[in-house]
């Protein structure tokens, strides 16, 4: 099972013309074919959320979707979160300010989850934020500062 198919992915506004096996997950295609290694793999079975990316703005598990399903979809990864190398996205800034990461392995997933959620609706209630952040696993932080950071980012992003 090694036949590859050509594929054009649109990641963080850039085109990546790659060639992958149909069975290749989006996560592997991003990490290996696009060399965007910020998206992490913690379980490869859809539970931990470390691989969360935004597909047309919606958080999705990149380990549970094939790369070939993503042609024509706007993909956003942690590398594309901030507008440039100087500034941080409000969610990134808040995670830094509130010590929202320790080892950082889960962090890209949480950042994409929080960014996707808050960009869609920064007015979400605290209960909704708790609920949404419960989608992903972190083993280091005990979630306290991830929640604090997400709340702070929400406050920042409200119009």
């Amino acid at each position: 099972m090694t036949a590859t198919v050509p594929l054009r992915l649109l990641v963080n506004g850039e085109r990546h013309d790659i060639s992958v096996e149909p069975r290749r997950t989006l996560a592997d295609a991003l990490r290996e074919d696009c060399q965007l290694t910020g998206t992490h793999l913690g379980c490869e079975h859809g539970v931990c959320g470390a691989c969360t990316v935004l597909l047309d703005g919606q958080p999705a598990r990149a380990c549970l979707i094939f790369a070939v399903q993503c042609e024509g979809v706007s993909i956003r990864t942690v590398e594309g979160l901030s507008a440039d190398d100087e500034n941080l996205h409000p969610v990134q800034q808040a995670f830094w300010d509130h010590h929202g990461l320790q080892c950082g392995f889960c962090t890209p997933g949480f950042l994409m989850l929080a960014a996707g959620t808050l960009e869609e609706d920064p007015e979400r209630s605290d209960e909704e934020l708790r609920d949404i952040l419960s989608s992903n696993l972190c083993r280091c932080t005990g979630y306290q500062n991830i929640l604090a950071a997400t709340r702070a980012a929400a406050a920042q992003m409200r119009p």
């Binding site: 379980c43 590398e79 320790q102």
Partner: protein, 806 residues
């Protein structure tokens, strides 16, 4: 125990100076971490990233035993599959860690199983392919024929005379018993006989996985010209990995480099030598190819070390007033099939042996503590090691005794907690200045125990089950060589060493032997050093995790890095500070005592006169002929620190509500009053407490690795093994106390494990308190909903049949 310290520097400058008199600028501040910006942008480098960036590397996938015990008949693969079995690794030595104790039974762990398999998940072969996916395909094509033999799955059965043996070894005592430590203090029997009441209790804990979010991963790269291999691996102790692999391969250590890049959590699970890594390095050298191995989550559950499975049979003698006079314990740790390198499978039982009395003034102690083999995944350290279960033991005893004696949980603990220091425990440990009593009193004040009892009574009247649980403990941290030597380890860890240099531009590089994996040590050490040198933390670059770039060290484990690497860094900074001051004094023509280093300047106190530190750095390198007589060129110092150890302490309080119908436990409040001495970076300390507590809650209520009756692990995915999400996590309140102890150089005590140690007992005490009208005392971790529900149903049935009889 006197701390052992040593500083090397030009001889006349080795005496440390007193720290700057002014309050520190950076130490004690919640400085944002220097580690974060790269990771936040997705620019970190984890081992998997190293592999993903290497288009040329082969991928290894390990063929693992599907049976718990058996003899290998054959391992075959279709043509075209690159299969490597034990035969191909001829000459590679097994991993065989040692304790120099008469009761220790040495067992060997071959890199790949040779004739015999001893647990489900044990590597028996590996395949190599051009990609991870192709390696997985190849794995599926391998046929393994193993003749099953009787498996040992239960520690109680394992020690019976007729038990099958996990290893054909000479057991001086009971079968399968590899460590058997005993001690009884002279007055134990008398104390037991004169007791007003004796509490007998059995507590136990299931198997838990440390479950770092990054599973294990390694990438061995070979320099074709020299044959030298660089292994990037997710480890807590790169130097020890280098030694261990070189010992297996009979290799000089300079021919091999180990790098721990960003490590995605570890918690103890990445501090033992992986047999997979030995195979990778051997094959990379043999084939002159780069080889990567990225462990799957399933493999991580199957084979990446388990922890915690142990059982304590306890006898506790109390006076009428609730003073615990004697504690007896028979401890059995099910350590699985092999011994972990370097700390050995003695780690859980021997820590329990030494530390069970905890923060209590128990005068008489009798203990037997055993390591017993089984056909299960080997155990290795996991955050807290045996102390979560030790604390469960003492804290459950306190609550059971309190109920029996009509005392409240605070009073009984107050009557037993150590209050004067130093305090020597029955096993000879010395508790340094701490705040056991104060932490308990503060916790009780915060939660308003009388007020809680009123709410509890009102809730009970409505048929709701609320409970409160306290948990006090002493967390031994920052212990150096003397503590490990007392454990008779053939490889005796302990000291940490650092090299510090200032370059001509005034930049400081601090190279440490310790190797953090998410704790933010670069930031904390930079804060300490910045204060000593009058610089900003971002001007101090901390280098770690590369055996080519750092002094030999033991890594990060046992809540030691801040204490020991911090102490060594502080020592080195004192020496460098003094050198800068001497150079400045010479330049400024004043006495060294009058020079201060602050905000990048060396200034004469009380005057505006000074020199930029950068200028002094340049002078030391480029105009060394202008240095004071006897002063060596350049600015490099080294320091070592090797303390006896210190004890942090804490009191945890959990409030819970138990659902009678489902047995589900909701934690409604969680309070930590903790004392880790001086906090270098309070934000980082709080983060350690948060993460630890949630892992402790996981141990209390959710996580358990389960084997079926054939020894097959059934919890091999995150659908079966259930770490808490935010939804299961309460808000965690933290109050800091700060004892001033001279047991560490900086005043900082370790803090990495406390959360995990205290939380399980607090939660089980709270659940037992909630269910006390039913006479329920929970004693097993985790108290899953089904276990709690069963306890409720059984108690209700008993009560109603007793009622019927009356």
């Amino acid at each position: 125990m006197t701390p052992r310290t040593a500083t090397t520097a030009p001889a006349d400058l080795s005496a440390p100076t007193s720290p700057p008199a002014e309050p520190p600028t950076w130490t004690g501040q919640p400085v944002r971490r220097v580690e974060d910006p790269a990771i936040l942008r997705g620019w970190g480098t984890f081992v998997g990233d190293v592999a993903a960036r290497d288009a040329t590397c082969l991928y290894a996938a390990f063929v693992r035993s599907p049976v718990a015990a058996g003899r290998i008949r054959s391992i075959t693969a279709p043509p075209g599959v690159r299969l490597i079995t034990a035969t191909d690794l001829a000459g590679v030595r097994p991993i065989a860690p040692e304790l120099k104790r008469p009761d220790y039974v040495r067992v060997e762990m071959p890199v790949l199983a040779t004739d015999v398999v001893r647990f489900v998940g044990e590597p028996v072969a590996l395949v190599l392919a051009e990609s991870a996916a192709l390696a997985e395909d190849a794995l599926d094509s391998v046929a393994v024929d193993i003749e099953p033999t009787p498996a040992v799955l239960d520690a109680a059965a394992a020690v019976r005379p007729d038990s099958p043996l996990v290893h054909d070894a000479a057991f001086p005592g009971d079968p399968n018993t590899t460590v058997d430590a005993r001690l009884t203090t002279p007055g134990f029997d008398a104390a037991l006989q004169s007791a007003a009441t004796v509490v007998e209790l059995e507590v136990s804990c299931g198997r838990q996985s440390a479950m770092p979010m990054e599973a294990r991963a390694s990438h061995a790269a070979v320099d074709r010209g020299t044959g030298r291999v660089t292994l990037h691996t997710a480890t807590q102790m790169p130097h020890v990995v280098r030694t261990g692999i070189c010992d297996c391969l009979d290799l000089d250590e300079d021919l091999f480099r180990v790098v721990a890049p960003d490590v995605g959590g570890a918690f103890g699970a990445k501090m033992s030598l992986a047999r997979e890594d030995v195979a990778l390095v051997f094959l990379a050298r043999r084939l002159r190819r780069n080889i990567a191995w990225i462990e799957t989550r399933e493999e991580n559950f199957l084979a990446a070390w388990h922890s915690r499975e142990q059982r304590y049979q306890l006898t506790a003698a109390f006076t009428e007033d609730g003073v615990l006079t004697a504690l007896g314990a028979d401890i059995v740790a099910d350590v699985g099939a092999y011994s972990c390198y370097p700390v050995t499978f003695g780690v859980e039982p021997l820590m329990a042996f030494a530390e069970l009395p905890g923060p209590y003034t128990i005068a008489e102690y009798s203990v037997r503590s055993r390591a017993v083999l089984s056909n299960k995944c080997p155990i290795a350290p996991y955050r807290g090691v045996s102390r979560p279960v030790q604390t469960l033991a003492t804290e459950r005893i306190m609550d059971v005794a309190a109920r029996r004696l009509g005392l409240d949980p605070v009073t009984i603990r107050q009557r037993n907690l150590v209050a004067t220091f130093p305090h020597t425990t029955p096993t000879g440990l010395v508790l340094d200045q701490a705040s056991h009593q104060e932490a308990l009193v503060e916790a009780a004040r915060q939660v308003d125990l009388p007020g809680f009892r009123e709410r509890q009574a009102a809730a009970r009247a409505e048929g709701r089950w609320l409970g409160i649980g306290f948990s006090c403990f002493a967390e031994r941290t920052g212990y150096g060589t003397p503590a490990f030597a007392a454990r008779s380890m053939a490889i005796t860890p302990g000291y940490e060493r650092v090299n510090m240099s200032m370059d001509p531009s005034g930049g400081v590089v601090l190279r440490i032997g310790a190797s953090p994996h998410g704790q933010g040590l670069r930031t904390s050490l930079a804060q300490l050093v910045a204060d000593k040198l009058g610089l900003r933390p971002e001007e101090i670059r901390v280098v770690h995790g590369d055996t080519d770039a750092t002094p030999y060290g033991w890594g990060s484990f046992g809540s030691r890095a801040m204490v020991i690497a911090g102490g060594a860094s502080s020592r080195a900074a004192d020496t460098l500070r003094q050198r800068l001051i001497d150079i400045a004094a010479d330049q400024l023509e004043c006495a060294p005592e009058d020079v201060d280093l602050r905000e990048g300047q060396a200034t004469v106190r009380g005057t505006g006169i000074g020199r930029p530190i950068k200028q002094l750095a340049r002078l030391a390198h480029h105009n060394s002929h202008l240095l004071p007589a006897g002063e060596l060129p350049s600015l490099e110092v080294s320091a070592t620190y090797d303390p006896g150890g210190t004890f942090s302490n804490a009191c945890h309080v959990a409030e819970v509500e138990v659902d009678e119908l489902t047995g589900a436990v909701q934690i409604t409040r969680f309070l930590v009053v903790e004392d880790a001495g001086l906090l270098v970076n309070p934000a980082i300390v709080d983060g350690q407490v948060h993460g630890g507590v949630v892992q402790g809650i996981a141990n209390a209520l959710y996580e358990e690795l389960l084997y079926d009756d054939r020894g097959i692990l059934v919890t091999t995915s995150l659908m079966d093994y259930l770490p808490p999400t935010l939804a299961e996590t309460p808000d965690i309140e933290i109050i800091h106390l700060a004892s001033v102890s001279d047991a560490t150089l900086t005043g900082a005590k370790g803090v990495g494990e406390g959360g995990t140690i205290g939380a399980p007992a607090a939660v089980l005490n709270a659940v037992s308190d909630a269910l006390s009208p039913l006479g329920i005392e929970l004693t097993h971790l985790p108290a899953t909903p089904s276990r709690v529900r069963t306890a409720i149903r059984t108690a209700q049935a008993r009560l109603s049949s007793e009622g019927a009889l009356r």
